[in-house]
Structures are given as structure tokens and as C-alpha cells.
């Protein structure tokens, strides 16, 4: 047990910070008189996330290492994705700090620390080197998310969102766990690297394939990939906007982290059935590609019919998940790089959009796109910012979305034979997505004012989130070198696979 004491606990600094801040905030919330505003708690939580972000950044030069018998691994993958998760969490917390709902419960302190706990789960997912910790941390994320979705206790939509989320999430968990049990059974260990090693020697191709498919389905639920996406729009619509932002960005990022950690680590070298010499993961490529294609198509086509901003963004996030899945399905050598860049861009533009939607919903009490109509007339800057985020989501050059999409495309076609069909589907759905993003732009800039009552001032938290996201979106669009320099620090995740 001595190695436990000698392990380098400083590797977990970001996690410790998040945990400590969450616990302290919980205690403060409990000790506070009921009538005091809980808003400072959200600011505190955001500060905590930023601190943890700093700590993670400080850890970047650290050598890859694992502690706690290999259950906690700090490799470049973990660092890179923790940066994303923490940045997303911090922005979501800014939105929480600026959240000012017209209906629903009073502003509870729970929001701040539940979000931090969920963030902690996501971070641990990125750092897990063991099936068990992976599972527990994912559950920490999802269970906290269920509560976040239902936090507006008196609003029926919120209850419904929470209920649907629990049911679908529960099924997903069970399916994934069932897959995990087979993996465990075939290898007798829960350490991911060890599993990967032992799977190479296994001769149970069918059980292995079953395990893989179960895991893939379970993860697809979490990613809201078609056909396991039905819950996402309802949950996104019913949940409070900051929670929706968190689900759409941080949870989705965590889902991809899970996908990579789980499937790639374990199955990259596992043998496939039949005479095909390639690995199981590669032999499953067509299945993943179909999943990706369906996700892109359904996500963007159904988004066309939406008038609710939250639902629209929900379907748009499904479509984006499809793009990311396509990048995953390509399995080129630049896969993780391109996913990271895409998720970074996705984070910036989506968080910004959600911050503005949050303001609209707070002010008008509805999330119909009417709320945007003619926004340009009295809030030109806000409208411009939203326009920027929408252009970025559409992947127009000069914004973060373009660079990210370009990278994905390159990843899709870099190998011979390239995934031209996926690339084509992605191109077509991108054009379809132009329609609904530009629909909103039309609402923003072309139409006359919907209501005479101007929107109120934007709260500090929301403004901060919008400004940060807008700057980030532009910076990544014009000087993507900034992001690529960060990415270069991770040395292409060479230490991801054992």
C-alpha cells in the first residue's frame, strides 16, 4: 500500500480543486439563510472551474503518469480533453451566474455545485485508466445531469425532461454496463491497458463483437447519436437553459472522451472475426460510419422544422455529433487531433449561442425564435454576436467552425480509399444546416421588430460568456495557430494507446 502514499497526488490537482470548491459551495449553500441570493455561488463555481483550468494548464508539461494502480491516468489525452471540459464547464457556470428565469423555482444554489460534480465526473472520465473508474465517473456525470435537467421543480417541462433523461440514460447505462461485463469476463481485469493486452489473445470473436456493439450502443445513447437520439431534443428543451448548454457541450465532449477511452483503448488491437487481419475496431468501421451518417442526416433535416431555439440547437448538436462521429469513423492518424479541434470550436460557438438564447428565454419567457426577430434593431452587438456563432456553427470561414470542419474533412479523406461517402454526406448536411442557421440570421437581421418592449440588460455572467465565446470563435477562425500550438503540446496523443 505504500505506493499509494508515494503516488504523485499533484496529478489530480484539477480534480481536487473542483471537488473542494463543490463541497465548500454546498456547505455555504446549506449554511446560508434562505432568503439570501445564491448567485455568488455560481460565480464561485465558475472561479473554481477557472482555477482548475489553470491547474490543468500547469500540468501540461508533466510526463504521462498513472497513479492509484493505474486507475487514474494523466496522459496527454486526459490533459487535452480536460482543458475542453473545464473551459466548457466554466462557460456554463458563467451562464448559470447570469441566469435569471422568469418562471420556475427560485435561483437555487444546487445548480452551481451539481454542475461542478458533473464536471468532476467528466474530468475523471478523461483520466480513467480503468473500466470501473470510467463507469463510476460517467455515472457521476449523468446522475448529476438528471438532477440538473429537473431542477425547475414546479415546471412540468423540466420534470418531464428529467424523467425522460433518467429513463433513457438508465437504459443506456445498463446496456453499456452489460457490454462491460462481457469485456470483463473475457479478460478478468478492469484495467484498460491490461484489457487491451488480453483481448489480443482472446478467441471469442462473437462475444467480443457483442460486447463492442453493446458498448457502442450505450455510448451512442450518451452522444445522442441517431437512432438513439430521441431523448435529446425533449431533454434539451425542458431543462433550464444553462443545463442545456452544459449537456450540449460538456456532456457531449465527455461522451466522445468516453468513446475514445473505451472503444479505442480496448478494441484498437483486438482481433476481429473471420480471416480479416485488421482489428475489431477497424472491422466495425462501417457500422460507426452508418451511425455517423444517419446522425448527420436526421439531425440536420429535423432541425429544419424547429422553431424552438432550444430544440433547434438540440438537433443542431445532434448533427454536430454526427460530424464528430464521422471524424471518429475515419480513424485516420489525425483522429484525436481533429476531434479535439472540433470540440473546441463546438464549445465556443455553442456556449455563446446558448448564453444568448438564455437571455432571450429569460426575457421573453419563451424559446420560440420570434424572440430573436429584429434583435438587430435595438441590440446590434448581441445580434452580431449571435450571427457570428451561427455562422461558425454553419462552418463559414473566418470562424472557429470552419477550421474545425476542414480538419474533419481532411481526416476523412486523408487515407486511401478515403471516406468519400461520409465526406459527401457531411458536405450535404452542412448545406442543409445553412438553411436553419440562416433562418435565424434572417430573423435577427431582416425582419421587423417582433415586440416593442426591448430586451433588458444582459447580466454580467451572460455578457462575459458571450464576449469570451465570440473572441474565441473569432480567434480560432483567424488565428487557428493559437489552438494548434496548444494541441502541439500533446504530441498527437502518442501516449494514448499503451
Amino acid at each position: 500500500m505504500n505506493d499509494v502514499w508515494q503516488s504523485d497526488w499533484s496529478l489530480m490537482t484539477p480534480e481536487w480543486i473542483v471537488l473542494a470548491v463543490a463541497v465548500v459551495l454546498l456547505l455555504i449553500d446549506v449554511a446560508m439563510p434562505d432568503e439570501r441570493s445564491r448567485r455568488p455561488l455560481a460565480w464561485g463555481a465558475a472561479l473554481g472551474a477557472v482555477l482548475a483550468l489553470g491547474a490543468t494548464a500547469a500540468l501540461i508539461p508533466a510526463e504521462p503518469a498513472s497513479i492509484l494502480h493505474g486507475t487514474f491516468r494523466l496522459d496527454s489525452f486526459a490533459k487535452a480533453f480536460k482543458l475542453l471540459l473545464l473551459a466548457g464547464g466554466a462557460l456554463a457556470l458563467l451562464i448559470v451566474a447570469g441566469w435569471n428565469p422568469k418562471e420556475g423555482s427560485r435561483y437555487g444554489g444546487e445548480f452551481a455545485y451539481l454542475l461542478l460534480f458533473a464536471l468532476l465526473g467528466a474530468m475523471m472520465t478523461a483520466s480513467s485508466g480503468d473500466l470501473l473508474t470510467l463507469f463510476v465517473s460517467v455515472e457521476l456525470l449523468t446522475v448529476s445531469s438528471y438532477i440538473l435537467a429537473g431542477l425547475r421543480k414546479t415546471v412540468a417541462a423540466s420534470n418531464e425532461a428529467a424523467l425522460k433523461y433518467v429513463i433513457n440514460g438508465g437504459i443506456a447505462t445498463a446496456v453499456m454496463l452489460f457490454g462491460m461485463s462481457y469485456v470483463f469476463g473475457l479478460t478478468g481485469t478492469t484495467n484498460l491497458n491490461e484489457i487491451a493486452r488480453r483481448l489480443q489473445e482472446t478467441n471469442e470473436p462473437y462475444m467480443l463483437a457483442l460486447a463492442f456493439l453493446l458498448l457502442l450502443i450505450g455510448v451512442s445513447f450518451k452522444l445522442a447519436a441517431v437512432p438513439f437520439h430521441m431523448w435529446a431534443p425533449d431533454v434539451y428543451e425542458g431543462a433550464p437553459v444553462p443545463a442545456t448548454a452544459f449537456f450540449a457541450v460538456v456532456s457531449k465532449t465527455a461522451g466522445f472522451v468516453l468513446l475514445l477511452r473505451l472503444l479505442v483503448t480496448m478494441f484498437a488491437a483486438a482481433p476481429a472475426e473471420g480471416r480479416d487481419p485488421s482489428s475489431l475496431l477497424l472491422s466495425m468501421q462501417p457500422a460507426i460510419a452508418v451511425l455517423a451518417g444517419l446522425t448527420m442526416i436526421i439531425g440536420s433535416v429535423v432541425a429544419l422544422r424547429q422553431r424552438s431555439l432550444k430544440r433547434l440547437l438540440a438537433y443542431s448538436s445532434i448533427a454536430h455529433a454526427g460530424y464528430l462521429l464521422a471524424g471518429f469513423a475515419a480513424m485516420s492518424w489525425a483522429m484525436i487531433d481533429s476531434l479535439w479541434i472540433y470540440l473546441l470550436a463546438y464549445l465556443l460557438m455553442n456556449m455563446g449561442a446558448f448564453a444568448i438564447v438564455s437571455h432571450i428565454v429569460d426575457e421573453t419567457g419563451s424559446d420560440d425564435w420570434d424572440g430573436l426577430t429584429g434583435l438587430y434593431r435595438h441590440r446590434p452587438l448581441l445580434a452580431a454576436a449571435l450571427g457570428l456563432f451561427l455562422l461558425s456553427l454553419a462552418g463559414i470561414p473566418g470562424t472557429a467552425g470552419f477550421i474545425a470542419k476542414l480538419h474533419l474533412f481532411i481526416g476523412l479523406v486523408v487515407t486511401e480509399p478515403g471516406h468519400y461517402v461520409l465526406a459527401a454526406v457531411m458536405a450535404i448536411t452542412t448545406v442543409i444546416s445553412y438553411v436553419y442557421y440562416f433562418n435565424l440570421i434572417v430573423q435577427l437581421f431582416f425582419r421587423p421588430l417582433f415586440s416593442s418592449a426591448p430586451l433588458g440588460r444582459m447580466s454580467a455572467g451572460l455578457s462575459a460568456a458571450v464576449v469570451l465565446c465570440a473572441l474565441g470563435t473569432l480567434a480560432l477562425g483567424w488565428a487557428p495557430g493559437l489552438a494548434y500550438n496548444v494541441l502541439a503540446q500533446f504530441d498527437h496523443f502518442g501516449d494514448f494507446l499503451p
Partner: protein, 514 residues
Amino acid sequence: MTFLSLLVFSPLLGIGLLAWVRKTETNMIQWIGTAATVPPLLLSLFAFIQSVRGFPLERLDEAHHWVRLADFPFLTDAAYVIRYELGIDGLSLLFIVLTAVLGTLAAVASLLVNEEKKGYFMWLLALEVGMLGVFAAANFIWFFFFLEVTLVAMFLLVGKWGGFERERAAYSYLLYNGFGSALLLVVIAVLVARTGTANFALLGDMLHHPVAEGQLIAPLTSEARHWLLGGLLLAFAFKLPAVPLHRWLIRVHVEAPPPVVMLHAGVLLKIAAYGMIRFGIGLFPDEFRAFAGVIAALGVVNILYGALLALRQHELKHVLAYSSVSHMGVVLVGLGALNEAGIQGAIFQSIAHGLIAALSFLLVGVLADRWGTTDIRRLGGLAASMPVFSGYLLTAALALLGLPGLAGFVGEFTAFLGLFAKKPILAAVGALGLIFAAAYSLKAVLNVTFGRARGSQPPAGQSEPREAVADLRMNEAVPAFILVALIVAVGVYPQLLAGQLAAALETMMNGLGG
């Protein structure tokens, strides 16, 4: 900031200044907006003159490190380095001059736009940046970048400042061109992914030379090259537009504000021609042969289809829109000929049609402003009330039908000359279109100018019937005059253009193997 960057981005200064002007000061906005188009004009003219005097354009090339997309150990140091690269040759310089000239003229003509002028000018300038950038880019990524700037700017300009069905037009513009762009992006991605570079020159090297081909990151089979070229051509066919992908063009030409159409018909359509020449022939000369026949045939279809439909239109804007379709067919014909004359003709035609279309739409804009309609059946006898205007309109029509001595003739003649050498029958059929062109342009214009005066229609904003509608004002006459002068100049002295093109054409013909 060096010369080309300055040239491309100088309109941004205007956008910056406009941001500080109050919305209500329309005069101020008009002045600033117009002034902002002058620097690129001066710079491009300067470059043109220098180039004519023998200044090597390569010395204007700019390259700065921008981003490195991947630096895996197994890649060379130069792989996936995307640089900010601008560079021009004679071909692009011509288009840049065209853009700059039309940009200024469109800005002057924008006096007709009254609504939300500030936003209008900001986007108009953005559009100009995009167009200049497209021609100045020496790198696929930046080419695409500027192309998409034009997409967004056009969407907003059409959708917000257009006519009655503006949003529909904007969406159809967005969708068609979006598909084109997306397709182009896929092609670009394949090229960048496989070669590790986006620079045109380097790409050309890598794709043509067997030695350099070994440096490809992943091999490009000949089948793949055919597909790539096909994709590229299809992408530009959306933007050109080639029949049957032309519906958006009609809507945009009808609905967009006339100054915007000046730019659109004058420059944006030419981006497609430019792209086909630069990338199609420039990067895939061998594969291009396989497509030449199809392209030529498509060109002929374009010519005839556009011309026939133009003949049947009652709306002047429709006539001009279909004539654009028809004229872009000539570009395709030239390209399909795939010999020096053909390509030169295609380029000439692009420039010439740019000037002619700009002139036509300038005049149509005036017409719409004065009479509130551009319906041929409701106009007539303007030669009496608006003599100067009618004169210009007639000139435009003559240029449009390809009267020798005017710009249109040079392009059409050379292009068909090229095709006759290769496919005489096709060329003969296509030439029929020229006759139709004479028919529809004269029919439309003569009806308007000399037909029976139908002065009963009051113009927009005025209640009593007009007896004497104001003729061309100064700010309309000057651009019109400049355009006519240019049309005549090109028509009479095509060497003005050809001299610039010689070098570029030579490399291209070398690529084609003779």
C-alpha cells in the same frame, strides 16, 4: 502589410469608419462607402500599369505562416503547413482590376439604395473584400475563405436589400452556392489531405510531376483525380451557373438591388470561370480532356437555353438574367475547346460580360428607380424622354449581342474560334445562340427605347404621371460612361487583356501538353 493584402483588405477601412457613423447620415455613408472602394481601384490600376510595363507580378507574392494542421513525426516539415498566401498573375490581375472597377461603380450606383444604408455599405465592402481576395488568393484555403465571405455578404445583401421576393432569392442563392462551396470544400480537403499543401503552385507541381508525386502523403489514383476534377467542375457549375443549376441566378438577378447585381453578374459569376480555368485546367490538365466534350456541350446548351428563354421574357431583368446564363455558356464553350483560343476566349468573355452586365444592370437600376418597373410591356418610347439613358441602353444591347468593336465580340469570337477548331458541328449549333442574342437584346431594348411611349405609369413615390422623367444623373452617367469606355477599349484593343494573359496561358497550355 504588403501590397496585395493592402489591395484586398483596404475596403475594411471603410467598414471600420462606417461603424462610427450614425445611421441617419446617409450622405456621409454614401461618401465613405464610395471612397472606401477607391483604394483597391487605385492599387489594382497601379499594379496593372506596372505589369504592362513589365513588372514581374511574382514579386508581389506574400506568404506568412498561418497554421500547421498536423506535424506528425512521419510527415515532412512542410506538410500541412497552411500559409496566408496571396499572389497574382496576369489572369488574376485582370479579374482584380475588373472587380475594383465594378466595385467603385457599384458603390457610386448605390445612391439608389436608401434603406439602412450603413449596413448595406458595410456588406457591400465586405463583398468586395471577398471578391478581391478570391482572385488574389494563392492558396486553396484562402480562396475558399474569400469565396465564403462573398456567400454570406451576398445572402445578406440580397435578403435584406432586395426586392419583393428577396428572402426566397437569398435562400436559393445560399443553397445552390452552398452546395457548390461544400463540394469544393470536399475537393479541397482531399487535395490538402493527400498533398499536405494548399498552395496552387505547389499543388500543381505535386500533381503533375512524377517525382513530386512521390511526396504525396497518400496516393491519388487516376480515378480519384477524375472524381476530384468532376467535383471541382460541378462545384463551379453551381456557381457559374450551368443549366440546369441556374434557377438561383434568375431569382437573384431579379430580386437583388441593382448595384449588387452589377457586382454579382460582373464578378461573382466569373469566379466560377476563374476557378474552372485555374483549378480545372491548372491542376488536372490531363483529366480535363475527358470532360472537355461534356463542358463544350453544356456550354452550347447554356447558350441556346439562355437565349431562347431570354427571348420570351417580358421583364428586362429576366432578359438580362437569361442572357447571363447564355453568356456564361460561351465561357464553357471556350473551356471545352481546350485550346489556346478557346481558353483565351473564355477569359475574354468573362471580363467582357462582367463589364457589359454591370452596365446593363446599372441602367436597369436607373429604370427601376425612375419608373418603378422594368416590365418591357409597360415601358416604351424612352428615347424621347430619356435620350442619354436610351443611348447607353442601346450601347449595352449592342455589346450584349456581340457587335464587333465592342468587348462582347472579342470573347465570343475567340471562344467559338477555339471550338470550331475542335468540334465544328457543336460550334455551329452554339453559334446559333449568337443570333438569338441579337434578337432578344434588340427586341427588349428597342421596345423600351423606341416603342410606343407608355407614359402612364407613375414612378415609385410620385403620385402624378410623369411627363418628363429625369434622364441619367451625373452619378449614373459617369459610371455608365466609364463602363462603355472600357467596353469599347477592350473591343477595339483586346491586346490590352491578351498581353496580360500571355504568360498565364502559356503555362496552362504547357500543362495541357501543347
